[in-house]
Subunit: 316 residues, 2 copies
């Protein structure tokens, strides 16, 4: 009784004759073998499981993308194992290496690891999709929104309202998204003849609240926040200081989360199609799992929604 034969029988293959099948199954029963997914994975080399490595499972933005991936993967019979890298580049890389032997592929959400580490993970994992990072020379579907286009829309909107001095509250600059937006805003501001200061903040409402005073000290009449949570925090601080939005200062966000619609004033923001990001990440991974190669990546364009948090510049 060879291992290959045992594998075939336990894997449900019809290529083994009946008598041999019975012997294998009897022996399996004797040692208490129960067929299960782990066994099937071992036999087929397929786990029907993918890993999703993300920087913060506690962040609504990432959760929405996670939700989309989970939903899409489930339709195709795949389970998603979620790993939180706590926003740490090395931890992220280690988590991927640990996952490789146990999953069919990996989706990297806003990865911060180095390019060399990224290439290593792709070589070892086989199938990888990357969300929120565009890295030349890397062979994987890279699902991103059109950050440059979105930044340009925000700048044009503020310029049309007469704002000349702007401040950008950016997110942690290890993230590709933060770096891309800083570059795009700087280029756009230069082209439109606007002044732009850049301040770095941690994630979340509280970080936006904490940096608002410093943002105002730049003399800007408009704050371009990294996301809606930052924008909300900035607006709360302005409210506490008696500074009116948008009469005294305009504020913009990114992502268009529920809070952006229901805060008062509601936040002018760039929508991030989180469902589409998650769907595209899964489509890109599934193509590789099926041996169809790496599909091309096209940035997803994002609409600007103008709401009450932006208005004419004071004195303009």
């Amino acid at each position: 009784m060879s291992i290959a034969t045992v594998s075939r029988v336990l894997g449900g293959s019809q290529k083994v004759n009946e008598e041999m099948s019975r012997r294998v199954l009897d022996a399996a029963a004797e040692v208490g073998y129960r067929p299960n997914a782990a066994a099937r994975s071992l036999v087929s080399g397929r786990f029907r499981t993918i890993g999703l490595v993300m920087p913060d499972v506690g962040n609504a933005y990432f959760q929405d993308i996670l939700k989309a991936v989970v939903t899409e993967a489930k339709k195709d019979g795949y389970r998603v194992v979620v790993i939180d890298s706590i926003g740490d580049a090395d931890e992220e890389y280690e988590a991927c290496l640990q996952q490789v032997p146990n999953v069919d592929g990996i989706i990297l959400l806003s990865p911060r690891m180095s390019k060399a580490q990224l290439a290593d993970v792709i070589a070892k994992a086989g199938a990888v999709s990357i969300v929120n990072r565009l890295e030349p020379g890397i062979s994987a579907p890279m699902i991103v929104t059109d950050n440059a286009g979105a930044c340009w829309e925000i700048l044009e909107h503020l310029a049309s309202l007469g704002h000349r001095r702007l401040v950008h509250v950016c997110g942690p600059t290890e993230s590709w998204q933060a770096r891309t937006r800083i570059t795009a805003l700087r280029r756009g501001a230069q082209r439109l003849g606007l002044e732009l200061a850049v301040l770095e903040a941690e994630q979340g409402v509280e970080a936006g609240y904490a940096i608002a005073d410093e943002a105002l000290e730049t003399g800007a009449t408009a704050v371009i926040a990294f996301n809606d949570l930052h924008a909300f925090g900035v607006m709360t601080r302005l409210h506490d200081r008696g500074i009116r939005v948008p009469e005294d200062v305009s504020v913009t966000g990114f992502d268009d989360i529920e809070l952006a619609r229901f805060s008062r004033p509601a936040i002018t923001t760039v929508g991030t199609p989180k469902l589409e990001l998650g769907e595209q990440a899964w489509i890109g991974l599934l193509a590789q799992l099926r041996g169809d190669g790496v599909p091309p990546s096209t940035p997803i364009s994002t609409p600007l929604t103008v709401r009450g948090s932006t208005g004419p510049a004071a004195g303009a």
Copy 2:
């Protein structure tokens, strides 16, 4: 070469003589066998993986508990597979049954399945921890906050401010948490001689916004919202109607999420120790995985934090 022998060798056991070990490993190499976690699971009966079934991965409240479970499980070398049941009782039950063959245990977050289904999952999964549901006659750690105590604190606070007519915006009543709070608020209101109307709403800020008008029509001077998202939505609607909080109407929440601190007015709310819920769920599961049985469940008490959204009743 018996399956048992193969298992022992591939599982790394020292109980097989060297010559036999070599034969097994050669045969394994021949069929392309690679040792991996799935193989080890098959041999040891341990996957080092647990399932976490939750109603909504897109909800900040559940995400925080998820994050705590992931962090704690990781410390003990376990991975967490997350399944979103989309708040559906049957889907939740099916997801559990599908998980059972692939995980060492299951954590159920705010389960809505029937008691019979719950008992069945516990019987099949072996190790189960339940968060946010207390069900007599079920043998599993049940990690809950002291909902009754929290409701009592809210009622006493509002009564002391002179509120006599209250309305409770509850969450979907399939959830144990929603039913428990309704019962506790009704009992408490009766004891304190207060009027209490109850309105059911869907989850989220938008649902709170949508139900605010109906809540006001009850003539209540205080809205006891099911959670902070509901409270925020209610407050936004009141703001849009020119009704002042707390001068005209007081509003309370549950959970003490970041938004409760940074909304204006900030929300009077009952803190939910989400980290502790996640930690206790993991501790309860690990005890079972180690064969130490089911630890006793003690409701976690929750503090009321009074902020700007509550004040003296109008005309009191």
